[in-house]
Symmetry: C2
Subunit: 246 residues, 2 copies
């Protein structure tokens, strides 16, 4: 499992100058020993985009970002290019980098693509999953039901993401995993999910999918995932504009 050195950045450990005071220098403590990789920068910026702190259309200046994160423009540029490749920002030469503005059609397209890729991932996972993956999925399933009982919606959303993440990883298809990962990021950006009554059904479906994986039944896994994605689709609500709340 130690294949790609840095690989897909999941959580950002880097933050700009604290929201407390705009006066002091950045990076509290020993300000030199902490080296920031462009990928960490990209994760941090992506995170702000997803949270709406950088609203669509917002201009991201290399100089500003460099100063905020305490690095030079070079790693910032690299981070912005990464995000451009993922479709989160749009770079116009000699002009600037802007947070992408997705249309409703773009957003619908994301769900549509994921709708055919996740079933494929499920089918492949049924054939290639290891017991480690299976145990991980069962663990998540168990926690999911617990969270369901507690009505912890935030945890439920996170567990749902983890379930699908582990499942696509279990497919063993690296390319597929990368594509779906980026799609997932963008979907959580433009959509909010209505969990209320749907959650119980959703986790029941998760259980069925795990059973199919356990049996190595690729066709069932695919069909179940098709149904799961389809019924989940109804729960997605397009975010209006996302004001930049902190």
């Amino acid at each position: 499992m130690a294949e790609r050195p840095p690989s897909a950045g999941d959580d950002a450990v880097v933050g700009p100058a604290g929201p407390a005071g705009p006066a002091g220098p950045l990076l509290p403590g020993s300000s030199k020993d902490r080296r920031i990789a462009p990928q960490a920068l990209a994760s941090a910026i992506r995170d702000r985009v997803i949270r709406g702190q950088y609203p669509p259309g917002h201009r991201l200046t290399e100089d500003d970002l460099a100063e905020q994160y305490g690095v030079s423009r070079i790693p910032v540029r690299e981070a912005l290019r990464l995000l451009e490749g993922e479709g989160f920002v749009r770079v116009i030469p000699y002009t600037g980098t802007f947070v992408a503005e997705l249309t409703a059609q773009d957003a619908a397209d994301l769900l549509e693509i994921r709708g055919v890729l996740e079933p494929l991932a499920a089918a492949r996972a049924a054939e290639t999953r290891t017991n480690v993956h299976l145990d991980g999925l069962r663990e998540i399933l168990s926690e999911g039901y617990t969270a369901l009982a507690k009505e912890d919606l935030e945890l439920l959303a996170e567990l749902n993401t983890r379930f699908h993440t582990v499942l696509t990883e279990a497919s063993g298809n690296v390319t597929l995993n990368q594509i779906i990962g980026t799609l997932r990021h963008k979907i959580t950006w433009v959509y909010s999910v209505e969990l209320p009554r749907r959650a119980a059904d959703s986790w029941a479906e998760h259980r069925l999918i795990i059973n199919a994986l356990e049996r190595g039944d690729a066709d069932s896994a695919r069909a179940l995932m098709v149904a799961h994605v389809r019924s989940a689709q109804a729960a997605y609500r397009l975010r209006p504009a996302l004001p930049g709340a902190s």
Copy 2:
């Protein structure tokens, strides 16, 4: 059609020092007025990778590439990062950039993913295609049959690529178009295609798909593309190692 400024680079206009003499400077003619964008560099390098001039595992040194193309390391780095995002090279920090070495499984995965995305593109294209797209496809179809009669295999391969490219563009799904474009590049890299007897059937299928698009019949377009991709799959032969022929 003037949306993305540079967008997906298709053909590279840039070449390294001519194969003639390694002595003189690069970029013949007025050596200064020609500015090279990182995307053009990426296309040029990608092209060499696909042609096998940079074999899998080959080390790409930033300094060497910079000197060959007559630019500094900065745009070269950016180009390499683009190719890394597309999966053509693999960057190891402080060590080097290497041409990716895809396994047979990786290669099979590419076809599998394309196998579910192209039918989706066909279905969407049936709903959103313009007459311009339709005319373009008919034109390609016509040329295809001409090339078929002349047994011009190279032209046939190019026309096949153009057919599928126009079709995915007609889907109107930008994200889908990008993903399939990269997949296509990688597939032409690792596979060679056996056209001999299969070509006639293939273009008959193309005709049926165009008819479905014309009728706006999304379900038929999807089903026909599923069949088309499936039967085409048998024509793909994995390239052994691709010696670095010029």
